[in-house]
């Protein structure tokens, strides 16, 4: 099912954006985990309708999210995020037209940040925080993708909202 949309119709160009924000949620670790899972679930449902795909990483009070798809839907969704008080200090790190999707398999998936994957990511994230300009957004986006694939291979954290028909590892 998802594999069909790997090839976008010619008329539909894909735009992609990457933003970061402070998480503005209160509660215990477990509550947060649950709330984020719920955000990912809702986002996946909405995105599936508007043909958006992407990934969300949350770690130490920060969201980093990639969204990609047709421009109008992307703008609508980003505006919704910008109206959402669960985010604070939203910063758009990249917004560009793209040749294709990096996350074609996921309407929205949570990037696993446990164990080795997180260790791998932490210095990167700090860099993101401090001087994003120095880090290529492209690199960040592809690193996010690797984290998802690695995370699912190690079977630590299944993507929270994948299409039932596709397995994350098979998406290539």
């Amino acid at each position: 099912m998802r594999a069909d949309s790997l090839k976008e119709p010619l008329a539909l160009t894909v735009h992609r954006l990457l933003y970061r924000s402070d998480m503005h949620l209160t509660g215990s670790e477990a509550d947060l985990r649950q709330e984020v899972a719920e955000i990912v679930r809702q986002s996946a449902a909405r995105n599936a309708e508007s043909n958006l795909t992407g990934a969300l990483l949350h770690s130490r009070g920060v969201f980093i999210q990639v969204l990609e798809g047709p421009l109008p839907a992307l703008e609508t969704t980003f505006e919704r995020i910008c109206c959402d008080l669960r985010h604070r200090r939203v910063e758009l790190l990249e917004f560009t037209q793209a040749a294709g999707r990096v996350f074609p398999e996921w309407s929205m998936t949570s990037v696993p940040t446990d164990g080795s994957a997180e260790t791998l990511f932490r210095p990167f994230q700090e860099k993101l925080e401090q001087a994003f300009e120095a880090v290529s957004a492209q690199t960040a986006i592809h690193l996010l993708r690797s984290l998802i694939v690695v995370g699912s291979d190690s079977d630590r954290a299944k993507p929270a909202a994948t299409r039932s028909a596709s397995s994350p590892g098979a998406g290539g």
Binding site: F78, C83, R89
Partner: protein, 790 residues
């Protein structure tokens, strides 16, 4: 039968028989046509009148048939009638016909009709034989009992049949009834006559006063025809009248139904008429309401409550019991000689909806749907009013979007509008439900925060607004970053009236903008002090031109290629009599705001041109032009005049503009620049590297020179970023054929660096500070001893 035939043909004057038959036929016809009126739906009095008419008509017709037929009878001897008994026979007929008819009416159903009809039949024979008792001939009468019995049976039978047929559902069958009744009358009479045999007896005396049969028959015929004729004529007139009446009512109903207003005719509190319009409004059919009480639709009003001369507001209830706001007015009307009331009902729902919509439009901003200035002012006044009644404290926030004007100007009003809509949406998210957010106009917004003046809460709201509006806006593929400045004033401490509070919030907003935008400021009393200071500075500024408190200083510029001076930039100074030297950064913005920049700028240009004439003639003088000066379309003309008056060649004048001049109205600015270019004036882009530094400006206008902002030059050569920028600008200038000037050169290292990078001109403390005219003139004449001044 034979006997009957002989009786009719041989013993009767056939002409009179024909008259009798005519009367009989007419009578029978009248019986049924008039009789039908009794069964119509109409008042019982009318029905009774028709019943009496019918009974009299029928009985007189029966009697007349008999009487004229008796006159037609020719026994061949003298005859006479006993007047009393003849009259009695008429009376008997009337009574029995009345009885029979009464039964038919009162006893609905076939049996009633059959019995009633039979009684009417019996009335015929009763009348006949009573009448025969009054018949006197000169002889004796002998009766054949069997034939008599037959005559009675025929009368009753046919009478019964006639009534039975009269109510048949088929019209053709009903039309047979008068003929059958006629058979009953004629059958009874002529059978009765054939049952009698008269034997002449001269002894019998004819009662005296017997009249001539011809005269009698004429009289009788006339009388009965008159009765029947009048009855039928009355019926005809009644029908005509009724038809006209019905047509009139129909016309009235049609007219009422055409009416847009709802109309209701009431007899007292009973509804007796209702038009389509009102049926539609109520969602009920007229059948549902006719005859019902007015209170079914107007629960709390009676007919006497509805005034005649002015409308009142009331509430109707429709089929579902839902209230419908209406306006009512009543009018008296006479219908069928009875006073009625017509109630006109105007449905107010559409009007009220329109009013609500108009109110909404008047109080809301059409673009964003937020409250507009008007509603905001009303709400603010209401807050103050309720506060006076000992209520609460509240906060007022004024917002100005940062950088909105630039976006509106560069990306178009469509984009500006889309942005404002989203800003409104985000503001709605930021506030609580009892706060009011309004668009006061342009990019100005206001929030009226309810619930006290808890500082922490106010700060949370302000920060939330700053955060939400500081987030990027993605519109049509553009990333727009605006942000907002917020000024906050608290009631009642910062203002006891709307005007005062707004003014102070505005001061706080001004403070937030001065602090660098993208932040909020609470109103402080010191702001008022500062604004006072500003006002007095403004007054001083106005006087300063006249008092000649301004002076110009000149900072020489060094040409890298020749290693010597090639001009100077003029800089303004204000020597305030009390405050001393006031820096341009403090008074130029004020001059721009107050419009004093116009005369001030003109003074500067005139002075500069005059001063430069004292320099060697190859040296140029540079003057800064404010964006505000470019709003004046006559700027080029002014400069042309000044050049002509002072005699300075245009080629020796250089004007420096900042991006601000191009931002406001690019086309206008470019037109002025082109005109200046025709005068030989050189144009420099000042402070390049700060602000937007849009390369497209450089493409759209061929500047003669780019001046690299001193903030970059000062950081060279140590700061890599600044060095990179200086290098980039120099390369850019070289490739576009524009000269580059490094401003703020203070050290040898900086000088070496910018020269190595290819800068064409240096300016800064290393070369010279800005110095008065006399000094700069001396400097120049020292450097170029042999060169003449202009």
């Amino acid at each position: 039968m034979n006997q009957l035939y002989t009786c009719v043909t041989q013993q009767h004057d056939l002409r009179l028989v024909a008259v009798a038959a005519l009367i009989c036929g007419l009578g029978c016809y009248a019986t049924f046509t008039i009789g039908r009126q009794v069964f119509r739906r109409q008042p019982w009095r009318e029905r009774l009148a028709w019943a009496l008419t019918g009974v009299i008509g029928t009985s007189s017709a029966i009697w007349a048939t008999h009487f004229i037929a008796m006159l037609a009878y020719e026994p061949g001897m003298a005859i006479g009638f006993a007047v009393g008994q003849t009259a009695a026979s008429l009376g008997m007929a009337a009574v029995l016909v009345g009885l029979g008819a009464g039964l038919v009416v009162m006893w609905p159903g076939l049996s009633g009709r059959l019995v009633g009809g039979a009684i009417i039949g019996l009335a015929i024979s009763a009348m006949h034989y009573t009448g025969m008792g009054a018949y006197a001939v000169q002889g004796s009468l002998a009766w054949d009992a069997a034939t008599v019995a037959w005559s009675i049976a025929v009368g009753a039978g046919f009478g019964s049949l006639a009534m039975g047929l009269a109510f048949h559902r088929r019209r053709a069958v009903r039309n047979l009834a008068p003929m059958v009744l006629m058979l009953a009358v004629c059958g009874t009479h002529f059978l009765g006559m054939s049952a009698v045999t008269i034997r002449f007896d001269p002894r019998v005396e004819i009662p005296g006063g017997s009249m001539d049969t011809t005269i009698l028959s004429i009289l009788t015929t006339n009388a009965v025809l008159l009765i029947l004729g009048l009855s039928l004529a009355a019926l005809h007139l009644w029908r005509l009248n009724r038809r006209r009446h019905e047509a009139e009512s129909q016309r009235l109903r049609d007219l009422a139904d055409i009416a847009v207003e709802g109309l209701m005719i009431c007899d007292g509190n009973t509804i007796c008429g209702i038009n389509h319009s009102l049926e539609r409004v109520l969602g009920r059919s007229s059948e549902d309401l006719l005859g019902g009480s007015l209170q079914r639709v107007l629960t709390d009003l009676s007919i006497s409550d509805i005034p005649r001369h002015q409308e009142i507001d009331a509430v109707l209830h429709d089929a579902a019991g839902l209230p419908i706001p209406v306006r009512l007015i009543a009018q008296s009307i006479v219908i069928k000689a009875k006073p009625h009331t017509v109630v006109a009902v105007r449905d107010q729902r559409e009007r009220l909806r329109a009013e609500v919509e108009m109110h909404r439009l008047a109080h809301h901003d059409a673009l964003t749907g937020l409250a507009n200035r008007r509603q905001f002012n009303e709400a603010l006044s209401a807050r103050f009013a309720s506060r006076r009644s000992g209520d609460d404290t509240f906060a007022l926030m004024l917002l100005d979007l940062d950088r909105f004007k630039t976006i509106n100007d560069t990306l178009g009003h469509g984009m500006g509008d889309a942005l404002l809509e989203r800003v409104a949406q985000r503001l709605r998210r930021a506030i609580r439900s009892d706060d009011l957010v309004a668009r006061l106009g342009g990019d100005e917004f206001a929030i009226l925060k309810a619930g006290g003046i808890d500082l922490a809460e106010i700060q949370v709201l302000a920060e939330r607004v700053l955060d939400l509006l500081g987030r990027p806006f993605l519109i049509d593929g553009h990333v727009l970053n605006i942000g907002t400045s917020i000024g906050i004033a608290l009631a009642p401490s910062d203002g006891l009236t709307s005007g005062q509070l707004m003014g102070n919030a505005d001061l706080a907003l001004y403070g937030a903008k001065e602090d660098g935008r993208g932040r909020y400021r609470m109103f402080e009393e010191s702001m008022n002090v500062r604004i006072q200071a500003r006002r007095s500075l403004e007054l001083d500024l106005r006087r300063a031109i006249a008092r000649q408190e301004f002076t110009l200083v000149y900072q020489p510029q060094l040409c890298v290629r020749t290693g010597t001076y090639d001009g100077a930039e003029a800089l303004i100074r204000w020597q305030h009599p009390e405050r001393g030297l006031i820096p341009p950064a403090e008074f130029i913005p004020l001059a721009e705001e107050t419009g004093l920049i116009g005369p001030l700028g003109e003074w500067v240009l005139r002075t500069v041109c005059t001063d430069a004439l004292t320099w060697p003639r190859h040296l140029t003088v540079a003057v800064n032009l404010s964006p505000v000066q470019f709003r004046d379309a006559r700027l080029a003309q002014t400069i042309r005049t000044i050049l002509a008056e002072t005699g300075l060649p245009g080629a020796r004048l250089e004007v420096e503009i900042t991006e601000g001049s191009l931002l406001q109205d690019e086309q206008k600015t470019l037109a002025i620049l082109r005109e200046l270019r025709t005068l030989g004036i050189r144009i420099s882009m000042d402070d390049f590297g700060t602000g937007y530094s849009s390369l497209s400006y450089l493409r759209r206008f061929p500047f003669d020179k780019i001046k690299i902002d001193q903030s970059f030059v000062r950081q060279t050569p140590d700061d890599h970023d600044s060095a990179a920028i200086v290098r980039a600008i120099t390369m850019l200038g070289a490739s576009l054929g524009m000269k580059t000037t490094a401003e703020g050169v203070e050290t040898d290292a900086q000088s070496r660096f910018v020269m190595d990078e290819g800068c064409d001109q240096l300016q800064g403390y290393l070369i010279s500070r800005p110095i008065p005219l006399a000094s700069v003139a001396a400097l120049f004449s020292e450097a170029f001893p042999c060169v003449q001044t202009a």
